[in-house]
């Protein structure tokens, strides 16, 4: 009751099933979730809305994860929003570089459990804004 606002999370993921499962898991955990199935759509969303956190896949059509995060950091909105990176790549992805250059909070390698993602998200959100207990009636 003290916290009425749900944390708003953007998920940039091109695989529809994966996106669906993640949305379901995050909603269950009390997050307000928006899906973007390409990098460009994710950039559009970030220009339009404020997010408490962004989860992005590396592999996406039109614009890959790194390009999206770069655009995000250079934009006006959401330029400091915590980002969690999800990747199916192997050693080629330099997670240290992502942390240093773009302030990426965590890099998760596939296959990962959605529950792990939820834990990471909670870790990078300011304590007060995390709404674990959902307030019914608010959409």
């Amino acid at each position: 009751m003290t916290e009425s606002r749900r944390s708003k999370v953007l998920i940039a993921e091109d695989n529809p099933v994966m996106a669906d499962v993640l949305r379901r898991a995050l909603q269950h955990a009390g997050f307000d979730v928006q899906i973007a199935n390409t990098g460009l759509k994710a950039v559009e969303a970030c220009i339009t809305y404020d997010f408490d956190a962004v989860v992005t896949d590396y592999h996406m059509p039109e614009m890959n994860g790194i390009e999206f995060v770069e655009a995000l950091r250079n934009g006006d909105r959401n330029s400091t929003t915590p980002v969690i990176f999800v990747s199916g790549k192997g050693l080629e992805l330099d997670s240290e570089m992502l942390r240093r250059e773009f302030g990426v909070r965590a890099v998760m390698f596939k296959p990962f459990s959605p529950q792990e993602l939820i834990r990471s998200l909670r870790n990078c959100l300011p304590h007060g804004t995390v709404s674990v207990h959902t307030s019914p009636g608010i959409t």
Partner: protein, 608 residues
């Protein structure tokens, strides 16, 4: 200077030797002469005999004074014995024998009597002479004291006892006096000859050296070691012969090696597939083999005398800069990769350089080696790409499976349709994983050459339908217009059904994967007397003319960003081509960038 000093020294030595022996001879002659004079004048034996006889006479005189007849006789006998006389007798003033070594004569008158009493000396008389000039000699000695004369002492002794000692001494001394200087002169001459002979032998050899131009140092002979000159000469000869044998060995070696250098090394270097070149101190090419020129795509004569910087590919601006930076320190070896353009496929050369040390340890020239590493780089590149792709190909389906399974496990509020959708997804992703493993294994078999066909008589039409039906759902999902044109009657083919189906699935799968949503894919089958052809056309991004020849290479993936965004192993086309090749057919492709591609599978019609 030295020669004059040594010749002076030799003269001095000769002179000193000559003087030494001359002096010694003079001394010897003088000593001999002195001895002769002494022998002639001395007569020492006679003197001592006469002295002894005088003392004997005075003793007998004493006996005569006392009148002791026995004492007189004893003294006479003793004197005779002591002096080894022939006889000894005392004759009184009246000429009567008073004592005698032959006692029977006593009392008789002496046959020869001559008073010597009034004389102070003695009388020597030779009584008899042999033919050789010797004979007994007699001496008469007066016997008296101050007041009274008692008579005469007569003694006789062999003359040679007196004369032989004298003459022998004379003879010996004369011989020595002659022989010793002679000996000395001989010894001196010998010594002189030895001194002179060493110099002569050395002098002769030096003269020959001066006269004969072809006289080799090896023909110098050592001399017998006498004196320091000969030792010095012998050292000179041994050094000279060492030097001579060393130079001849060196010349033989260089002859042998020179032959090798000249021909064999040249052949070896020219036969190398790697380029080899040498540059001199000024950086200009002084040697290059054919391969070096060929790899640089320039004629060999054109690169001779040129600096390496100007003959390497100028395609990439970094080439020359990197090379200059590396060769700034000539003593350090290095390797430069020379890119003909920014695309590896255009060619990549590896240029190595290492310093060549000259005899004084200085770097005067550089050895260059050149190798075409385009293929190697391409393989490395595609391998890296494959590892990346394979990781992605494994991780992505696993991730979806895990997410779906977790959702199904955790959330009870999922409607049945979604549940089914999730389960389907799990099924499909597992199939995708399985297919990847199959593809991978097929490629491994292809590599090992153990990909074999299991041929059966197959209704080709039915096979086509199966493949089309399998790929249709994915096409529909992307709203791709999928049209199939097949002639009415297709023959039965003796083929490996599974592998041909897999190859077709790869091609149709690619068409679906790369064709954008709402695009178009066509399958056209053709039949003539000899073969069956199946074309698959798409409206995807197409393949550039540069990449088209390489699309069937294992692990090849296009650099086109539109293609890179879609995952793939780079194995599908390679596998499909190999399968068709094993069937006696082939797989070809034509494409137009940004418009689409057309893949054609050709299979021989069943032989009747």
């Amino acid at each position: 200077m030295n020669s004059r000093a040594s010749s002076l020294k030799l003269t001095r030595r000769l002179l000193s030797t000559y003087l030494l022996f001359g002096l010694l001879s003079i001394v010897a002659v003088a000593v001999g002469m002195a001895a002769l004079i002494d022998a002639a004048s001395g007569n020492s034996a006679q003197q001592s005999l006469l002295a002894r006889l005088k003392s004997a006479a005075s003793e007998i005189t004493t006996q005569l004074e006392s009148g002791d007849e026995d004492g007189i006789q004893n003294a006479v006998t003793a004197t005779a014995e002591a002096n080894d006389l022939l006889f000894c007798a005392v004759i009184d003033g009246d000429g009567v024998i008073r004592a005698h070594t032959t006692k029977g004569f006593i009392g008789y008158n002496s046959p020869v009597s001559f008073s010597v009493a009034q004389f102070p000396g003695m009388i020597e008389r030779i009584s008899y002479l042999h033919e050789d000039g010797t004979g007994p000699r007699e001496y008469w000695i007066p016997l008296r004291n101050e007041r009274h004369s008692f008579g005469t002492l007569q003694v006789s002794l062999p003359a040679q006892r007196l004369s032989s000692g004298l003459t022998n001494l004379l003879r010996q001394n004369a011989g020595l006096a002659l022989a010793f200087p002679l000996l000395l002169l001989l010894a001196g001459g010998n010594r002189l000859r030895r001194v002179v002979s060493t110099s002569t032998v050395i002098g002769q050899q030096l003269a020959r050296l001066a006269e004969d131009d072809s006289f080799s140092l090896e023909r110098l002979r050592p001399v017998e070691e006498k004196g320091r000159e000969s030792v010095g000469w012998n050292r000179l000869v041994s050094r000279a012969s060492q030097f001579e044998s060393f130079t001849s060995l060196e010349s033989r070696l260089s002859e042998v090696l020179g032959g090798f250098r000249g021909e064999r090394f040249e052949q070896i270097l020219q036969a190398l597939t790697d380029g080899v070149a040498v540059t001199d101190e000024s950086g200009q090419v002084t040697f290059a083999n054919e391969a070096f020129a060929r790899l640089l795509e320039r004629p060999l004569p054109e690169i001779m005398g040129e600096p390496v910087e100007t003959i390497i590919p100028q395609g990439m601006p970094g080439n020359v800069a990197v090379l200059k930076e590396q060769t700034a320190e000539p003593s350090r070896p290095g390797v430069v990769e020379l890119w003909k353009s920014d695309d590896v496929a255009d060619g990549l050369l590896r240029l190595g350089h290492s310093p060549l040390l000259s005899n004084d340890g200085q770097v005067r020239s550089q050895l260059w080696s050149l190798r075409d590493i385009t293929q190697q780089k391409l393989i490395e590149h595609t391998r890296d790409q494959f590892v990346d792709t394979a990781t992605h190909e494994l991780r992505t389906p696993l991730s979806t499976i895990k997410a779906c399974a977790e959702a199904l496990e955790l959330y009870d509020d999922i409607d049945v349709e979604t549940q089914k959708h999730y389960l389907n997804t799990i099924n499909n992703e597992s199939t995708r994983l399985g297919r990847f493993v199959d593809e991978f294994l097929n490629i491994s078999r292809m590599e090992a050459g153990s990909l074999t066909l299991n041929r059966h008589s197959t209704q080709f039409e039915r096979l086509l339908n199966e493949v089309v039906n399998k790929s249709r759902p994915a096409m529909e999902l992307k709203q791709i217009e999928f049209s199939i044109v097949v002639p009415p009657k297709l023959p039965e083919l003796n083929i490996d059904k599974d592998k041909i189906a897999a190859a077709m699935m790869n091609i149709l799968g690619n068409a679906e994967k790369y064709t954008p949503i709402g695009g178009e894919v066509k399958l056209l089958a053709e039949l003539n007397d000899r073969e069956v052809r199946v074309h698959v056309e798409d409206t995807g991004p197409g393949i550039s003319q540069e990449e088209l020849p390489r699309i069937f290479n294992k692990f090849f993936r296009s650099e086109d960003q539109r293609i890179r965004e879609i995952t793939g192993t780079g194995l599908g086309l390679s596998f499909a081509q190999e399968v068709l090749r094993l069937h006696g057919g082939n797989l070809t492709a034509t494409s137009e960038l940004n418009h689409g591609s057309r893949f054609t599978m050709t299979l021989p019609a069943r032989e009747e």
